[in-house]
Symmetry: none
Subunit: 432 residues, 2 copies
């Protein structure tokens, strides 16, 4: 075991892709101008990485769990707890946690699942306050509700005899009615599932009643009417956020702190509450960076600076830039390429400011979000290890096809921490 060495995992969120004819049969990583990542590939050890297993599409949550060595098949309990923890709600054993969207409905019909990606902070504040003031408990269950960024929020139900084994409320597409939650057929505790579904449906109904009538939503509704009729040239779409749609029910997660598992004093620098929640569960030092917006306009240099700084007093940092994933979800190749070039600029900064005689760095993605799929896909992802303890191969650029010829072969997400610790000189010997 070597003291004093450093490790960095840098994730370009959803950065993996597929060949697209509109960019000459290249993937977005291949098409992007990425001198820093190409140097990392050229001087480092490359390979392909499957976050879960070949062909299996991972969520950001399950993928980051695997990348940090916590087996998702064993530990994953749904997205809700991570989202809730990410916004600062402690999820206790027995709680059921949900991620939520502010949405726009007409009667029961979903008009927009994100209330026009509501981002007006003053409005959100009033909407959240109305929910909180009016719905503190339902039956004997405490209701804890907190906003995240934009249209996102988290809900925790706390009380006796609750279960996460209930069906979704959010229908995941507009133009249809939102669903009644029901106990799952194979629920372990049908009575608890029945109670939880009932309370959740009551919550959704009461939220709608409270919000539909709210002054701020009446005003937003009027703007929306004018926008629909083309009577304005507003850049932002304003819709009433007159309901909350919960999904991803999950229970408290029991994860061994990262420090305890690996002996690493660790920090996390990420832009999404979901992954931040995982960091909180792992007792990592979750560092906020000014200018890290989680959007296309995020300040990647501020993130890179924070990474370099964090490695001064931590052994290990996991960092994630969200932007590439957004381009992939929107099916916007150009935006995704620009986002990947943002990641590259962050890597350039990191290359210039870290001491790689002492530091091992990994650059990869948490999953593919191909522009042709507009959702997560199960494709293998390029990965490159750089710096201390690596065995450089003859791959000369970073990308899907180039890295597939690298020395690391195909590895799984669950193996990355072992490989990294080995390169850092901090691995354990199995046997004597």
């Amino acid at each position: 075991m070597t003291e004093g060495t450093k490790g960095l995992i840098f994730i370009g969120d959803g950065m993996g892709g597929r060949p697209m004819s509109e960019i000459d049969g290249r993937t977005t990583i291949e098409a992007a101008d990425t001198p820093a990542m190409d140097r990392i590939a050229r001087e480092g050890a490359c390979g392909m990485m499957d976050p879960i297993a070949p062909g299996r599409a991972a969520g950001s949550d399950t993928s980051h769990m695997a990348l940090l060595g916590y087996e998702p098949e064993r530990y994953y309990r749904g997205r809700g707890p991570f989202e809730a923890r990410g916004v600062g709600i402690e999820v206790r054993p027995g709680d059921v946690a949900f991620r939520c969207n502010f949405a726009t409905v007409d009667g029961r019909t979903v008009v927009d699942r994100r209330a026009g990606r509501i981002s007006q902070e003053d409005d959100i504040e009033q909407i959240v306050a109305a929910v909180r003031d009016n719905i503190e408990t339902i039956e004997d269950v405490q209701v804890i509700f907190k906003p995240s960024v934009e249209h996102r929020a988290a809900l925790v139900l706390r009380g006796e005899g609750l279960s996460h084994e209930i069906s979704e409320v959010d229908p995941h597409s507009p133009g249809v009615e939102y669903w009644e939650s029901r106990p799952l057929d194979d629920a372990d505790d049908p009575e608890a599932a029945e109670k939880t579904a009932r309370i959740l449906n009551e919550f959704v109904g009461r939220v709608h009643e409270v919000l539909d009538d709210l002054e701020v939503n009446r005003r937003r509704g009027e703007i929306w009417e004018r926008q629909k009729n083309g009577a304005t040239d507003d850049e932002e779409i304003i819709m009433p956020a007159n309901i909350v749609l919960p999904r991803g029910a999950g229970t408290a997660v029991q994860l061994e702190p990262l420090k305890q598992r690996y002996g690493l004093n660790a920090a996390m620098i990420v832009e999404v509450d979901l992954v931040r929640g995982l960091g909180e569960y792992l007792d990592m030092n979750v560092i906020e960076v000014e200018g890290a917006t989680g959007g296309m306009g995020t300040d990647e240099i501020a993130i890179a600076r924070a990474v370099v700084e964090a490695l001064e007093d931590h052994d290990f940092v996991l960092a994630n830039i969200k932007a590439p994933d957004l381009g992939g979800h929107d099916g916007d190749c150009e935006a995704k390429i620009a986002a990947i070039e943002k990641v590259d600029r962050a890597m350039d900064h990191v290359l210039n400011y870290l001491d790689f005689s002492n530091t091992t760095m990994v650059i990869t993605a948490d999953h593919a979000t191909p522009c042709s799929v507009m959702d997560h896909a199960g494709d293998s992802l390029p990965i490159a290890f750089f710096g201390r303890g690596t065995c450089p191969d003859d791959v000369s650029s970073f990308g899907e096809r180039a890295c597939s010829r690298g020395i690391m072969g195909h590895i799984r997400g669950m193996q990355i921490m072992d490989v990294l610790l080995n390169m850092m000189g901090r691995g354990d010997k199995f046997g004597a």
Copy 2:
């Protein structure tokens, strides 16, 4: 989840091989002229595939189970049930099923394990009728016996207190006495195993009595005597089929239907009862093709046409051409190369008639049957994915060494369905 996309797995049975000096150190795939498969490799995503795990030789049954995503270690219950189901015998819980050969014995000594690969249908009919008429039950156990193709047949024992944990009767080589079946030492239910072995030995003895005396066999014996003495120039060897040698005892298999597991409306187009039986267990639409003989002379274009047609009203097809395996078992490089070129002609047809903007195709083998081994071997197999959702690499021909440099790396049989579904846009996301 994308509706309307199609998937095809095309298997060249036993197509994998090893370098042979007689074909200039090439494998049979490498030596064969395969323009269609080379195009698939050139325009597709290549790799190597281990049906079970590196170095482990698979049977056709266990390999096809894995290729379809049903873990053989968990679900395999012996070959018998597949063979029986493949010839149309329903194998019920409690039944013990066997695959059988018609064979030629002199006393207890096996002269030929396949009765000269008996193929005279009229003779087989009389032989089967004699077995059936004379042996309907043994003790309290019902005997169900049905022929398959050529020298192959299936036997099911149905009654109380039976077990598959018994030793083989077929000694697997000529020139030795056939064996008495015995309960396995570690049988879970020794009494049931004792009873089953006793009934099976009684069946074999009575079959021999019945068949040895049969008119058709006396005639076949006379021809065989003349053939042995070189007194004829018949092309076909005719031997008396005077016994049935059972092997591969197994019990009923419980497999979740393929449609239920993957949501795919699926068909199977194969030439061997064993694999057909698996298709029946999975509730796939098992399609018979006129001219698909399972032999060297099979009509590969008829098979390819049937595949194209099946994909019109199915989401997924698994197809298998048996011929390459026969060449491998016979140690006949030339025949195996000719058989591989047959598979290639089928692939050419498929390439010309399917819409690959919408369809993902996999070409591979279920196991290696190297001519130098003359049996299944555990070598890794070339695999190529072609069409929708693939990321083409720079492999330019189909074969063991060429594909080993492909983007897919080394994958396992159990991963193929996940990878294929991902390319088809029909995979599930794990996490959020």
